[in-house]
Amino acid sequence: MSRARLTLARRLVDGLAATGHYLWGGWGSLASLCLFFALWEFTAQRLGSLILPTPGEAFATLAGLFASGEAWPEIAITARRALLGYVLALSLGSLLGLLAGLSVTASVMARPIVTLLVGTPPIAWLILALLWFGAGDGTPVFTVFIACFPIIFVGAMQGTRTLDGQLQAVAQMFGLPGWMKLTDVYLPHVVSYLFPGWITALGTAWKVVVMAELLATSDGVGAALAVTRSHLDTAASMAWIVALVGSLLAIEYLLLEPIKRKVESWRNFA
């Protein structure tokens, strides 16, 4: 009991340490971020706050939105829709992609359909979704799903297609049972193809959900952006954009990257 708890605590500490270590390695990124804010400040001062508010103004407005309790519910709604569509695309795309990769015929057949899906702009899907699902959660969730699905599908399919025949021979020779082939040979390889797809799709989900909300719903960050636009409230627009990008960065760098580094630790020694 206590030993189990100890292992859990140890794992937690290890996880936190990994995240901290990763952030500590981010001084270079921090410097480039500061440069970006300096450029923003400079441009804002030249153009005036109606066209582009300064970072200070944007963050102050954002702080105001949080303080008044206006921000959290909208962000939660948007995150719910984005994550729902994303998780659907992630599970279905990964599964179908892996299966399609197992057969040459399926991969060849899937290729033009994937090209079609990738080529169709999300805004076109949005129009269709509006017709099918109306104004509600269905529209943004579907649009996110359909925008993310092909990205993840292609990654998963490439993962199985590029499996090393030599390692498969090793698996056969040493009589690995089916589940072991999956966990010890296929998955570790496939994951290195899946992760980039997952991360790209997450960014796409965040962008697409706002676009869908802007046109289709009356709540969420996208709808809030529509309101600030109609009020010509540039500072609030920037504040919402900052909130959006901030939440995306938080998920990507605090959650996905540490997982990726843990799963792919064997690469670091190459």
């Binding site: 021979a169 020779m173 010890d184 570790p188 020694f269 190459a270």
Partner: protein, 245 residues
């Protein structure tokens, strides 16, 4: 327990790679296949291992635990060396602690340190990777060991060390060996029987027995025998060497 190959022929597409192969490996026997590059040796070994199905003929293997050491080490890059060595044991359902103990003991004998065992294969040198690959094959206590030019990329010091380990293993547990090599010295040092293959399509053209026990085959004996061997007309023909003056 034996490996019997009858009347085997194989082709890739329309290209005939092997023709009319008959081969027998008895328990505890070491058979070497020597021949020029591209004569179908590896294909024959893959057929014997059951990794390929023959086009014609029969492959009957009644050995219970065959294991193979491939031409490249082929370790799983995402597993630490210890887990790589224990791969076959894990497949056989051995619990973690037991298989790690076996792997560690075996790796020690191969000259791998505790530190090496915690590393991923990419952090090991080529020689270390080969030792780990041999350890992985020996870990399952095979009764037939298939070697596909397993030592061809190693320096002579490491080669003789691995030869010694292999000889030890055969002494202890009488495992049969079917090995491919283009190195005549290696064949003469390790094998009881040497089969000479010639190419396009691959076939067995000659057979020679080496009767001296393994323990008596010292360096100078191997050199002398190799020098004799290379003068024989069937060997010279198989490797496309000019006739011996």
């Amino acid at each position: 327990m034996s490996l019997n190959i009858h009347h085997l022929a194989h082709r890739f597409g329309y290209q005939r790679v092997l023709e009319d192969i008959d081969l027998h490996v008895a328990p505890g026997e070491a058979v070497a296949l020597v021949g020029p590059s591209g004569c179908g040796k590896t294909t024959l070994l893959n057929l014997a291992a059951g990794l390929l199905s023959p086009w014609e003929g029969r492959v009957e293997c009644s050995f219970r635990r065959p294991a193979m050491m491939f031409q490249q080490p082929r370790l799983l890059p995402w597993k630490r060396t210890r887990d790589n060595i224990a791969l076959g044991l894990k497949a056989a359902g051995q619990p973690r602690a037991a298989r790690h103990a076996t792997a560690t003991a075996l790796a020690r004998r191969m000259g791998l340190t505790e530190d090496d065992l915690d590393k991923y294969p990419s952090a090991l040198s080529g020689g270390m990777q080969s030792r780990a690959a041999l350890a992985r094959a020996l870990a399952v206590q095979p009764d037939l060991l298939l070697l596909d030019e397993a030592f061809s990329a190693l320096d002579i010091g490491l080669k003789s060390e691995l030869y010694r380990l292999l000889a030890e293993e055969r002494d202890n547990r009488h495992c049969a060996v079917l090995m491919i090599t283009h190195d005549l010295m290696e064949a003469i040092r390790l094998a009881d029987r040497i089969l000479v293959m010639a190419g396009s399509p691959g076939r067995i053209v000659a057979e020679h027995r080496v009767d001296s026990p393994l323990g008596e085959r010292d360096e100078s004996w191997v050199f002398t025998r190799t020098a004799e061997f290379i003068r024989w007309p069937d060997i010279r023909a198989a490797f496309a060497l000019p006739e011996y003056p």
